[in-house]
């Protein structure tokens, strides 16, 4: 009895070893990962939108299109809509502003809305899957592979920045960008501040399409374009009282 028990333990431990060694053997020897050297870096990415430059909604269409085309965002009419960047009125964008008597210019103006890449993102705190997280420069990213579609993040985000894929989005994408993935049914998506472009040294697609009306840079660097614009102009953010510390600034 005793000796057979010993034998069993020997065999069991040896096979555990063999399994572990086999698993370790799947790593390619010498393989390494690095970031693109031309990638743009920041301590805290921020966006400054000069809303004075968008007096008519038509001037906003090409920018929305540039983003949605680059990221294969579907065009779905009705309540199943998916959007990364869109526009709305002052009243809707800045819901906690008390003044009911706005000057005409502001009353009629439309404002770009998108994910604010908050410093304290409530969406990240609630995600049970670790699918949404803060990454380089304070960007809030989603790993769609991980998303289980619970939509907690959508409930937590005070800005409605996130959209849910109620159905396969592919039939609703007019022109497919073959260099970027789509999403699938059952995952949440939103603006990424173009992480994939920043990492290759490019500015976000909306910034590039805006002719200088949308600025992007490091909020922690006093010499950056965003800091300079904020130093010279009065700006507001959406729902600052909630403490999320949004990274999108609006020059009024």
């Amino acid at each position: 009895m005793n000796s057979s028990r010993r034998y069993f333990l020997k065999v069991a431990s040896l096979s555990t070893f063999a399994l572990a060694a086999g698993a370790a053997g799947t790593k390619a020897a010498g393989a390494e990962y690095e970031a693109y050297p031309e990638g743009l870096k920041a301590k805290r990415w921020a966006m400054v939108i000069d809303t004075r430059r968008f007096q008519n909604p038509e001037s906003m269409r090409p920018i929305i299109e540039a983003c949605h085309k680059a990221h294969n965002v579907p065009t779905i009419p009705g309540p199943k809509e998916v959007k990364w960047i869109w526009d709305d009125t002052f009243e809707h964008a800045f819901a906690d502003d008390p003044s009911p008597l706005l000057p005409r210019g502001i009353e009629e103006r439309r404002f770009f809305l998108m994910c604010n890449h908050c410093t304290n993102p409530s969406c990240v705190r609630v995600c049970p899957a670790g699918a949404t997280y803060t990454t380089q420069g304070g960007l809030v990213a989603i790993d769609y592979h991980r998303c289980v579609g619970c939509r907690f993040c959508m409930a937590a985000c005070p800005y409605g920045s996130r959209s849910f894929n109620f159905q396969d989005p592919r039939p609703f994408i007019k022109e497919l960008n073959a260099a970027y993935p789509t999403r699938m049914r059952g995952v949440v998506e939103k603006c990424t501040f173009c992480a994939e472009r920043l990492e290759k040294g490019l500015m976000p697609a909306c910034v590039e399409a805006s002719n200088g009306a949308i600025l992007f840079g490091d909020l922690n660097d006093p010499d950056s374009v965003v800091r300079q614009a904020l130093a010279r102009n009065f700006s507001i953010r959406r729902k600052p009282s909630l403490g999320t510390d949004p990274g999108v600034y609006y020059i009024i």
Partner: protein, 137 residues
């Protein structure tokens, strides 16, 4: 062992029947090795025409799924999008823009093996299949 002369043959017969689908298939004349279609033309990566896979063929066949998961995590979580292979060559960590730039024929490459092994990965629910070779999206 009690009743060993019945139990042991019983176990052998059971094991034989249980594994029957495997060995019947292997012995049948219709059994064939999966042949995938390999890329025919070199593709340019990092300014260099390449016709070799990133790692040796056998290693890739056995480990590509784990490698892809490593790629995903290093790109999305660590912002590292360049993979230096064992031979020192650099590649972008992208299923869609690196792997499928060469292996553009999904039906004759990916699907062949996956079908034979009865696995059903959902990579292409999101990642776009190169057009022109497949009748899919």
């Amino acid at each position: 062992m009690f009743n060993a002369k019945y139990v042991i043959p019983g176990i052998i017969v059971f094991a034989g029947l249980f594994t029957a689908p495997f060995w019947i298939n292997m012995l049948s004349p219709k059994h064939e090795k999966v042949v995938v279609e390999l890329p025919a033309h070199p593709v340019t990566f990092f300014g260099e025409e390449r016709s070799q896979c990133i790692e040796p063929r056998e290693w890739m066949a056995a480990n590509h799924m784990e490698l892809l998961i490593e790629w995903r995590d290093s790109a999305l979580r660590e912002n590292k999008r360049i993979y230096t292979a064992t031979d020192g060559k650099k590649w972008e960590t992208s299923l869609q823009n690196t792997c499928m730039a060469c292996h553009s024929n999904k039906t004759e490459f990916c699907d062949k093996c996956h079908d034979a092994n009865s696995v059903n990965p959902y990579c292409w629910d999101c990642h776009v299949i190169p057009q022109g070779n497949n009748n899919e999206f």
